[in-house]
């Protein structure tokens, strides 16, 4: 995380926030997807992606961009549930790894 430099306390603060907040965000996104609420889903994704980038979690970000493309192009969202499921799984996995590695 380039922004943090060598400030460990700051890194931990950011990771802690991510670990606490991500499950809530993932649940909200799943709800929006189930309700076919594409506008709120897009807004949530828009906010979620930069945080992932800051933490260097680019694998999830790529999937988020694909979902955003689907939503913004207004094409049928037949792939959305699968993509959202993958985002959920990857996000949950990242949170679990961070929790374990940093004892959060």
């Amino acid at each position: 995380m380039q922004v943090a430099g060598t400030d460990e306390r700051f890194v931990l603060e950011m990771l802690k926030y991510f670990v606490q907040n991500t499950p809530v965000v993932l649940q909200r996104m799943k709800n929006y997807c189930r309700e076919k609420n594409w506008n709120d889903l897009a807004a949530e994704l828009h906010k979620f992606a930069p945080g992932l980038s800051f933490l260097g979690i680019t694998s999830v970000e790529e999937k988020i961009r694909r979902v955003e493309d689907c939503v913004s192009e207004g094409v049928m969202h037949e792939n959305l549930p699968r993509l959202m499921e993958e985002i959920d799984q990857m996000g949950t996995e990242v949170v679990n790894v961070l929790k374990e590695d940093f004892s959060l």
Binding site: V3, A4, D7, Y17, G51, F54
Partner: protein
């Protein structure tokens, strides 16, 4: 002793907000935080903000509306730096038309951000 440079950051994503605050405080700037456009307008109206750094998508008043507020209602020449994700070129163009001075994409590079700020402030003098 030189007066501190007050930068207002308007950003609703907590991680981005904290990352910006961390970078700019460490560089010696005095930081004011707003998590939405309403808070940002209130802080801007006090007249002691020297630079506005705003995301485009923030609640209540968007970054674009904030730029319009600064340029038209406050009639202020303060430098405005827009934060945006990649792929919003049309919106960034609109921000320039409204009076933004520069933009930076998220996730930002701290060195790049500081250079752009310095450049904007030197151009203002």
């Amino acid at each position: 002793m030189t007066e501190p440079i007050n930068i207002l950051i308007c950003e609703d994503d907590y991680l981005t907000l904290k990352a910006l605050e961390h970078t700019l405080r460490n560089a010696g700037y005095s930081i004011f935080l707003a998590k939405d456009g309403k808070e940002a307008r209130e802080l801007l109206s006090r007249g002691n903000i020297h630079v506005l750094l705003t995301d485009i998508h923030v609640p209540y008043f968007s970054g674009l509306e904030l730029i319009r507020y600064v340029r038209e209602e406050l009639d202020s020449p303060i430098p405005v730096l827009v934060l945006s994700r990649v792929g919003l070129e049309d919106t960034i163009m609109h921000a320039f038309e409204l009076g933004a001075n520069d933009y930076i994409t998220k996730p930002f590079n701290p060195g790049d951000l500081l250079l752009r700020l310095k450049k904007m402030m030197s151009q203002e003098k």
